[in-house]
Symmetry: C2
Subunit: 336 residues, 2 copies
Amino acid sequence: MADGDTDARVTIRTVAADAGVSVAAVSKVMRNAYGVSDALRLKVEASIERLGYRPSVAARGMRGRTFTLGVLLVGIDNPFLPGIYQGIESVTESAGYKIMVGVGAARARTEVSLIEQMIDNRMDGLILVASQISGETMEHYARQIPIVVVGHHEPAAQGYDTINNDDQMGARLAVQAFVDRGHTDIAFVTQPEQDGDLADVAPQREIGYRAAMAAAGLTTRVLSLPSHGTPRDAQIHQILTAPDRPRAIFCWSDLDAVPLLSTAYRLGIRVPQDLALIGYDNSPVAGLSMVDLTSIDQDGPRLGKLGAEALFTRMNGRSSPEHILIEPKLIPRGSI
Amino acid sequence: MADGDTDARVTIRTVAADAGVSVAAVSKVMRNAYGVSDALRLKVEASIERLGYRPSVAARGMRGRTFTLGVLLVGIDNPFLPGIYQGIESVTESAGYKIMVGVGAARARTEVSLIEQMIDNRMDGLILVASQISGETMEHYARQIPIVVVGHHEPAAQGYDTINNDDQMGARLAVQAFVDRGHTDIAFVTQPEQDGDLADVAPQREIGYRAAMAAAGLTTRVLSLPSHGTPRDAQIHQILTAPDRPRAIFCWSDLDAVPLLSTAYRLGIRVPQDLALIGYDNSPVAGLSMVDLTSIDQDGPRLGKLGAEALFTRMNGRSSPEHILIEPKLIPRGSI
DNA sequence: TGATTTACGTAGAACGGTGCACGAAACGGG
DNA sequence: CCCGTTTCGTGCACCGTTCTACGTAAATCA
């Protein structure tokens, strides 16, 4: 805590005057640049300490780096974000970088505006988590600032990197788990793709589901939960009360799998006897004993860590794209 | 989307040159300041549109306002934050302000550093949600930037505003609900206060609990979940397997009430027959049919909305502090 | 019609930093 | 002892805005 109660901002000039050196000298000490003697450094550091000086990120950003990274999250209530964030933070903290978060609310408009906001704040790099933005738009911004995308597939992207779990494999793991338990009537519940965008995780999981079902010689059945129109709860209710309700459901995300389970419970549908269920993301709720939902874990902390590391190498000049895929894992619980 | 593929940044000078006017004129148009003819405005706006110009927040911050607010959140996995955030956003969005979020990880050190980061980024105001920072430190920063605190009691604060639900009343509602159902053995489960700080919500709820118990002529019993040492799960396990396990528990937050319920379920303790439970925050999980946890709702969206509104009036010059308390509500469910 | 106001547009100095180019010592080799 | 290198520290031109002060032309008033 600064002991002074001075309201006037301490600037680099204040420090320079206090230490009896030039402004440039203080700047050099701050950036520990070349050409500073120990004597000078000590003097300046003493003044900085005494005055409680902090450089203005805004001013600094106009020429050099800000040592701030932007992280864009789809929302704030998505249970798989905390793990990723923590993974990112573990890397950036030790590197002395600060993080500012933008909350996208899953609307492309908002996300674009937040990306621009981050660029305008002169951040040094961006990590976009589960972004809804099109590959083309992304390339556009990637020319202005180093970008890494986590949780969105775009394997052909040139200007930025992508870090993902292998969603197709995750889907195969789920189908396989059902098949192993003798199921044949396995449906896939998903949210509809945004304007035909196969890059999102849900379509990827659907591809994996279809492939696995075909390999097992089973017929596919895809149920969609449109984001507009009837409320999500009603849609889920409809799926569960339909006369041809599937015996097993692989749900694209715990985000919908948990409400699905909750509704089943309310309807008196026994799980797993009447309905077997597998979700995706292995959210904390899935692990509660009264929920006990089998789910595919994609190791969020690892994704975040890899994302941050990729961003750093890119910020340090790498220009060839990097597209990493890690292996998901099935966490078996009582719902199958 | 800008159609050009120019990597060079479009600055105010580019626009000025393109429109054939001075830099100051463009600035005036941007801020719709006084002394701009329609002809000039049109010319400039056309250029802005054509070039896809966006002012640099960083540069702008060096003299005027940035139209950016900082929101500091305790964590990212806390279920009562989304509501508050949404409430804040509903106000700021229509006012044309952008939001940048800082994630504090419930560590005072990190929070302070994020506040400084936000000041250094020249944000126009700050909303701190459930911050752990001491009142004294807060006053210090409040002299540098308008601050509103949500979810932390400091009714005597001079330099900043606080917005809260009435945590003492919330606790009374919980105790009353138990008493109405004939309970007498009612314990309060809480996390220990950080360095004797009574300003936090948990101690406030404890005060309310003690008062309500005294009013009902019952003896209090407070069980603490220390954040260090044994893991949270083990502590909960211990409380539930103790020979003198309470018949009813009022838990300071759903954050702990849900795991409590989960462990009870695993141990075969029947709820509410063997154990009645009330949480706080009415998190989405509490409403799931297999959880069905009674909880105190504090109307997060309203807290957020009031917080943002208070911040705006403060940014517009109000200097007298404002301390708002709203009424919480009990949401009865199957756990009592 | 001349004086005064009003409206518009422009220079140019901030703002708080960075980083290049340069000069002055100090150093060291021949 | 002279001259080329280093090593330090400084002056100054940026970065992209805002905003005050000012000049000029048009409009209003007497």
